[in-house]
Amino acid sequence: MSIVRAMAPAQRAVDMLGPDVSESALRGFLEGLPGVDAVGLEQRAAGLGTRSIKTTSKRWALDRIIELIDLTTLEGSDTPGKVRSLASKAVTTDASDASAPRVAAVCVYGDMVGAAVEALGAAHGDPDDGKIAVAAVATAFPSGRASRAVKLADTAEAVAAGADEIDMVIDRGAFLAGRYGHVFEEIVAVKQACRRPDGSAASLKVILETGELTTYDNVRRASWLSILAGGDFIKTSTGKVSPAATLPVTLLMLEAVRDWHRITGERIGVKPAGGIRTSKDAIKYLVTVAETVGEDWLQPHLFRFGASSLLNDVLLQRQKLTTGSYSGPDYVTID
């Protein structure tokens, strides 16, 4: 149920940069990207955030948000029991309303993949078929500070345990030091490690950790670098660093995938993660996707929310639309 990509991991880079993807070719390409004007970017994001989404549009948006959530638990204290609870919530999001959709995936640490797969049981599958995928963070998440061998082993183990999607972190230290080739190679290697014996592969989400990249120019370069190296998704944050996902950063990453699509026709996903807690905020992201890359990007293979507490707020808003009155936190289930 994973997304199988016919393209070899670094084929995109070869197509863009020629047969020898050298460090200097990468540097030349990334540094040749148009600059980002911070004031203008933030102003555009703020403008998109003022769209007023009401009635039927809001109902559609709330259901779609649920369908795009990677319901997440990433704590040191996670246990199989906690993961079972999360999986149950992913399947039955609103105990009082069977029409509430399922989320796209549950996202856990690599050692919890087995527990997640088992807990989901028959519900485990491709979100496009109304089922729930298992995503695992890997590569020494969240810091990424480990040897490459450890990162690859981390990834391979999660895939072997049944993960459909791998959320890897990039080496921000190497990126900030200008070692683009190092980051590139690592993404390519992790992409290889996502392959399964049957030739299929887990989908690869590349976490840029934009809060540590600091500048918008860095975010744009890291986005393109991740795409060139074979990422299926680019993801803002681990959720462990502040600021996590922001609307301007997500807009910028959407512009990168839009431009990639413009050049190659290929569609890359985007996943803002961390800090999106309310329906109101999440709707702003839907608007930004729809007005930047188009509303056909609002599907689980191309857009996700990485969140743990967002779901309940959406459910409360959904109940409000149905019943006409606000309920309260006891009317939705804790994970």
Binding site: P34, G35, R51, S52, S57, L286
Partner: protein, 515 residues
């Protein structure tokens, strides 16, 4: 369903309780005018909003007399601190009634509620707050100690930013100690009269501000009145020239803020996504009915095709329609006359061989509408590259080198605004120095702040509004200063030269009133 269509999100009009009929505001009271009352309509539907009184020559006389009396007996005698208190009070009342004013402005002008709510009305309040702060600091205006007010100011404003232009005019005039007779445009008089209610709420002394609604001919009578000491006009270049001629040789001070044909220069190293936004904002903000609109896009030839493709894609997401819908990006054209002007110039563009393009959008069947439009393959000799369209119509030209960009940008009778888009700071600074425009925006467009002087070169007018220069336009150096420094005549000239009124200056929007 399509999420992108968004369900309607109309702003409620219940906060606005319109009367059937409104009077003139003279000497602190609403009075009936001597002329034939006229209707103000909603451009988005063509429906009548209210009947407005029309001032005649007699009303002009009464208003100027009231302003003179208020100047002599009250306003010029108040301390700057006390004048400032009134201005602060007005600013706060504008904020309190902001939603009501935004709805009224959107209805009467046809512009989207998101612009009146998020830009026009907050800017109005900001202008009063800013000049309230100046009222007791006039000695810092650059005219020496104790500069004096001028007297009675006749102010004629346009229809594109009705309340904002009122604030740009009234706030500095009052802060400097002048009294005012203001004539709003005949198509957009509503918010000026609502503002008069605010003046009553603020207990502003009688006669300090008088507001006359009526046709352009009445504006002509107003500026020609011998009791007027200062004339400030924002509107079309043609009307501005008429005013300048009509008061030539008199002692009246004059500031003019007239038309424009702003150039937006996009270089190949520009932050491209932000440049697209800036171009969109530069020409489609307020349906392009902006004197400083970036109506000429000059894009480096090497990125022209890609830039136009991206611009078209972006324009597909512009939402045209009901101005009161919070999601509307582009509203109605202000009047049938303006719509005809836009259509005529656009037709000329096609006839001249330029390529016209608009996104798919369904325009409402009633009211005055024009789809956002771009012209490619425009040459500098085309009318659409030279004349002010004052509508949502962008002409796209190319350049190859910075020198060519400057030459083309400056090749216009106007000189109000320009924009530069480039990642290279040194280039931006070097080019800004060479552009003959009163305002040059770098990597942004259409930014207005009360602290920043605004005005034009050449046929875009003279004088500056905003900032220290803006208040200087309503002041003269004190008698004491003049007599102690230099002989009176010489001093007056030199002081005049130091004030914005004599600098190449101002601009602004096209306006239909005032003759």
């Amino acid at each position: 369903m399509s999420f992108l269509e968004y369900a309607p999100a109309p702003e409620s009009t219940s906060i606005l309780r319109l009367q059937d009929q409104y009077g003139l505001f003279i000497d602190g009271e609403f009075v009936e005018g001597g002329g034939t009352p006229f209707d103000t309509i909603a451009p988005s539907t063509g429906k009548k909003l209210a009947t407005m009184s029309c001032a005649d020559g007699h009303d002009v006389e009464r208003a100027v007399t009231a302003a003179r009396r208020a100047y002599d007996t009250t306003w010029s005698k108040l301390s700057g601190r006390d004048r400032g208190k009134y201005l602060f009070r007005i600013a706060r009342l504008v904020q309190e009634r902001g939603r009501e004013l935004a709805v009224a402005e959107s209805l009467d002008n046809g512009k989207p509620i998101k612009e009146t709510r998020d830009f026009d009305i907050p800017t109005v309040a900001a202008w009063f707050f800013y000049y309230a702060g100046w009222a007791d600091k006039l000695e810092h205006a650059g005219l020496g100690p104790n500069p004096r007010s001028l007297g009675v100011a006749a102010q004629v404003i346009p229809w594109n930013f009705p309340l904002m232009m009122l604030a740009w005019k009234i706030a500095p005039a009052l802060a400097a100690g002048n009294t005012v007779v203001l004539k709003p445009a005949s198509t957009t008089p509503l918010t000026a009269i609502l503002f008069a209610e605010i003046l009553q709420q603020a207990d502003l002394p009688r006669g300090v501000v008088n507001i006359l609604t009526g046709p352009g001919s009445m504006g002509g009578q107003l500026v020609a009145h011998p009791g007027v000491d200062k004339v400030a006009f924002t509107g079309s270049t043609g009307v501005g020239q008429t005013i300048a001629r009509s008061i030539a040789g008199q002692r009246k001070r004059l500031t003019l803020e007239l038309g424009g044909k702003g150039a937006n220069l996009v270089f190949d190293d520009a932050p491209i996504d932000q440049a697209i936004e800036g171009v969109v904002n530069g020409i489609f903000f307020n349906q392009g009915q902006v004197c400083c609109a970036g109506s000429r896009l000059l894009v480096q030839e090497s990125i022209h095709d890609e830039f136009v493709d991206r611009l078209k894609a972006r324009m597909q997401t512009l939402r045209v329609g009901d101005p009161l819908d919070k999601n509307t990006d582009v509203g109605a054209i202000n009047s049938a006359a303006q719509l005809a002007t836009i259509a005529e110039l656009a037709d000329a563009g096609e006839a001249e061989g330029a390529e016209k393009w608009s996104p798919d959008c369904v325009l409402p069947s009633e009211g005055f509408w024009y789809a956002p439009t771009i012209f490619t393959n425009v040459q500098t000799s085309h009318r659409i590259a030279r004349e002010e369209v004052f509508g949502p119509v962008l002409s796209i030209l190319t350049f190859r080198t910075p020198a060519e960009a400057i030459a083309k940008a400056n090749n216009t009778p106007y000189g109000l605004s320009a924009g530069i888009w480039s990642d290279k700071g040194s280039r931006v600074l070097a080019l800004a120095d060479q552009l003959r425009a009163g305002v040059v925006w770098a990597n942004t467009f259409n930014k207005f702040d009360p602290t920043s002087p605004f005005g034009g070169y050449k046929e875009s007018g003279y004088g500056r509004e905003g900032g220290r220069q803006g208040i200087g336009a309503y002041l003269q150096a004190s008698e004491a200063q003049q007599s102690t420094s230099t002989p009176r005549g010489a001093s007056r000239r030199s002081i005049t030269a130091a004030t914005p009124a004599a600098l190449p200056a101002k601009t602004s929007s096209r306006k239909k009133a005032a003759k």
